[in-house]
């Protein structure tokens, strides 16, 4: 799969490295903006009140 991704992008190796780093940055941004906040809502919260 990594090899398929490597072959997916055209151009010389140095250009592929730059493009792949940009893709990785975009993925991390999407995780922080959309995925992780959603995951946080799915995790159980802990009770903090007495008598409930």
């Amino acid at each position: 799969m990594f090899s398929m991704i490597w072959r997916f992008f055209p151009g010389p190796a140095w250009l592929r490295v730059i493009v792949l780093l940009l893709v990785a940055a975009a993925v991390v941004y999407a995780l922080i903006t959309y995925v992780y906040p959603w995951v946080a809502l799915q995790l159980p919260e802990q009770e903090v009140t007495v008598g409930t």
Binding site: M1, L31, P37, A40, E45, Q46, V48, T49, V50, G51
Partner: protein, 256 residues
Amino acid sequence: MRHGRRKRRRARLSPLTVIGELLLLGGLGVLGYVVWQPWHTGVTVTAKQSDLVAELSAKWDAEPQKPYDGTVPVPEKPAPSEVFASLWVPSFGTTYANQVAETTDWWTVLNLDDKGIGHYETTQMPGEPGNFVLAGHRSGPLINSFREVMNLRVGDPLFVETKDGWYTYRFRSIEYVLPTETDVLNPFPRLDGNPGEDEILTLTTCHPKLAGSDERAIAYSVFEGFQPRSDGPPAELKKLNPTMGATQAPRGDQES
């Protein structure tokens, strides 16, 4: 043709390789979440709360003030989920400030990162004899208003800001109870009978930290004084909080 183009032979992509690589990516994703969550609650949400509290302070500053006649004002009963106060606790972090809303409802107050601290609606308000009881999360992915509750030391100040002014409390003690022990909410915690003259601020949160919530940590503070808004924030808070003029945060072992 001496150098014939040799066809590069590629091994066929094995499903095991794909599975292994997906597992690697998944592991990185989970690791990323483990890094993200404390950063989110500790930096992003904390900064958001500081901004919200500063905005609310500025809004209250702009409102016309009732002249202070020497009696400590009692805030009106707020509507459910209404923000009516801010809690400033230098022991939780020198710039710590967090809004306080009415009721301890799960999804309208406690879990929202623009509120996070709830006031038990059956308990008293600041400025009247009795017990002003607040609840907040100590860990978890959404907001951790009371994460540093164990940082409190006897004599540490806690400030409650309302539209009338500043109530100063002093930390007295902490105890760990079972969730069923609702007598911590009594007008005088743990005692039955009519409220006396004492004005208590009680914080309730979960215990142990990061390891379930089988118990509750209960922190008690005693009312010390009131300062009307026209006099500005208490000098002690200004001294401790770098956003209010302090040039250097005091060290943990320093006498204030």
